[in-house]
Amino acid sequence: MKCDLPIELLSGYLDGELDEQQKARVEAHLKTCPACQEELESLRRIDQRVRDRVFEEPSREFVFTLNRRIMDKIRVAPRRSLFRLTPIFAPVAAGLLILVILINISPSKKNAGINDRVIYQKLEPQQLLPISIPEPRIAQTTTQMKRAAYHDREKALAAGAEEDRITEAAELRDMDEIETTVQKREQVVRAIIDTNGTIIKVATGNSLIPEKDTMLENELSGQQLAPPMIAGQKKQIYVEVATEAKEE
């Protein structure tokens, strides 16, 4: 534009966002300024181009499974209180759940990926011990099962399910997902362990989409854990390792 009308006014005029005084000023100017008339038309065309661009449709998975995925996460949330209320029972139930899942998860399930919604796998404590995350970023690592997502929640949490029924729920054959997390979360470390038990990828962050942590990955990758076994077969798994500054 070669005249002195601020572009903000022309843009605001296009959006119908000017007050009466500003609007009158722009309209008076446009009557005598072909360059600004052309500029205004040009801005209109730009807006139209942006509006008209082709839109990428969401995936079928998004359309058909998003509700279930979200609802599964929402439904499991209240169960946290069970573990808080039953400090003795919870570890026992958690252990049973792990055992059943290790037996029942099909080896044909998809492999893990940092950015995927994949099978989270709880490791036995002795398997976690070899993980050594350098100070001062992480003082100690612990994991604790906090919730389990079930493929068929109606079965798993039949009405009236109580603490002493967790064991029954654990026996369901169609459980397909386990999430591990921690009670006192400061920073979450997620790692992919390959079939030989070697850490191959590491990500951090508390969001649902973890960020690849190159520094930590460099420090941790190659560390050896016991090879994860699921249903009698070696399997690459995705673990969420939580950190606590101080263990109680």
Binding site: R49, E56, P58
Partner: protein
């Protein structure tokens, strides 16, 4: 399961009273509009889908604080946009948009191969141009042009003064015009 169409307000009240199942119709109702907002911000399908999921979960976890008298979608969109802004800030990789989807999308909607080819090429150039815009510009432009929000709404959504919205939009359009010229988008 949900035979009657219940208002957002009724559903949210039910959720607040502990009926988490009432959140499901809200997901169904708003997942696609929200996906479009997210997609326009991040220009990547997978990221947009993840951000929608995160937004719903965050909304559910904050539902107790939601004022039932206000429009739910506007509140949900605010959560989603803020989340997407944080995501974009953290995003280190260069945004490069694969455009195979263009052909796929167009083939469903048109039969004229010439028109398809032309629109595909045009969309490709427009998306390239949008990707070249600074993130702040792309966000305000998308909220204004594609979501048709007012300056006041954008100001509240992005927590920036209304005057900043005005100047960002003007500069975004100027910048986009330059890029269009370079890419020969007419």
């Amino acid at each position: 399961m949900y035979n009657k169409v219940e208002s957002d307000e009724a559903l949210i009240k039910a959720v607040k009273n502990g009926d988490c199942e009432s959140f499901n119709p809200l997901i169904e109702r708003y997942k696609l509009p929200l996906y479009k907002v997210m997609y326009r911000m991040v220009l990547n399908r997978d990221d947009a889908e993840d951000l929608v999921e995160e937004a719903f979960i965050k909304a559910y976890r904050s539902i107790k604080r939601f004022d039932t008298g206000r429009p739910f979608y506007a509140w949900l969109r605010r959560i989603a946009v803020n989340n997407a802004i944080n995501f974009l800030k953290k995003e280190r990789r260069n945004l490069t948009e694969p455009l195979e989807f263009v052909e796929k999308s167009l083939s469903n909607s048109r039969n004229d191969p010439v028109a398809i080819t032309e629109q595909k090429a045009l969309t490709e150039r427009i998306n390239q141009a949008m990707l070249k815009l600074p993130r702040e510009f792309r966000t305000v432009l998308s909220l204004k042009i594609e979501e048709d929000l007012s300056y006041d709404e954008i100001s509240q959504l992005l927590k920036i003064p209304k005057g900043t919205v005005m100047s960002r939009l003007a500069r975004a359009r100027q910048k986009l015009k330059q890029i269009f010229d370079e890419l020969e988008v007419h």
